[in-house]
């Protein structure tokens, strides 16, 4: 029985869509002049990253990425944008050093990109001989509660202290005014 024509291309095309939305979202997040658009770019980048996590055999992390990044981080940044006025300054204050600064930033990031790409291409990644676990949600839960229980507790403490510190810092200016 013949398969549907082009059916072998569905999976790589889905991969390309997710990888492309990650890259385009990151570029929008960095290049856009209005901050609300760069938050939308960050959300697009997170959706693409969740799809890539799905391709890397971790649907649990794909769900967590969408929950935490889009549901918590992006929404919190949007709240801060509503409270402050964080748009990039308009072009009137453009100095001759701005172009040089952009070229410098582009050069640094291009060197990092080329260097790390070459580094990752030189090594061939060999798959391990045996897999100790299957990487399912059950295995993650077991390792969270046995091997990584201390780190798990510590990160809950870090989150608690971060919430308390955020409340204290954001509140301090209000009582004066």
């Amino acid at each position: 029985m013949n398969p549907f024509p082009g059916s072998s291309f569905i999976v790589p095309i889905a991969f390309l869509v997710f990888a492309g939305s990650t890259a385009v979202g990151a570029l929008i997040a960095v290049k856009s002049a209005r901050v609300i658009r760069s938050v939308a770019g960050l959300a697009l980048c997170s959706i693409g990253l969740a799809g890539l996590f799905y391709f890397l055999q971790s649907p649990f992390l794909a769900l967590m990425e969408i929950l935490i990044y889009i549901g918590a981080v992006c929404v919190t940044i949007i709240f801060a944008i509503m409270l402050a006025e964080p748009d990039e300054p308009v072009q009137g204050r453009k100095t001759p050093g701005a172009f040089l600064w952009t070229a410098c930033a582009f050069l640094v990031s291009a060197v990092i990109f080329v260097g790390m790409s070459r580094l990752s291409e030189q090594k061939s990644w060999t798959p391990p001989a045996t897999r100790l676990t299957d990487g399912s949600v059950k295995a993650i839960g077991i390792s969270l509660l046995t091997t990584y229980s201390l780190a798990f507790e510590l990160i809950s403490l870090v989150l608690l202290i971060a919430i308390l510190g955020a409340l204290v810092i954001a509140r301090s200016g209000r009582s004066k005014s």
């Binding site: 990253l49 967590m64 990109f113 990644w125 971060a162």
Partner: protein
Amino acid sequence: MTFERLHEEPHAYLILAAMLLAVGIYGLIRRRTLIGMLIAGEIIFAAAALNFMAVNRFSAPDPTVGQVFVLFILGLAAAEVAITLSVIIAVYRNYRSVETHDLTELKE
């Protein structure tokens, strides 16, 4: 490296992670507001998470380790965002601005 097996090539993920890191560093240098720099930092976190997951999938003997690490990275990123945004709001209350050009009190 053929097109049909592209999603099983570790280099595709690693090069994408390198690109995310480069874009994040570019944004961190180039952005002139605190919230823009925070977003660029989040992209660097995403690059680290993608790198961890790619290495975890293709060469780690225990595939839960990378997932647990990326889960911790997500938690730390959330804590970092909470703290940073409260600092940004406090700065905005004092200076009425979040541009990095205006926050030069220590320099003057």
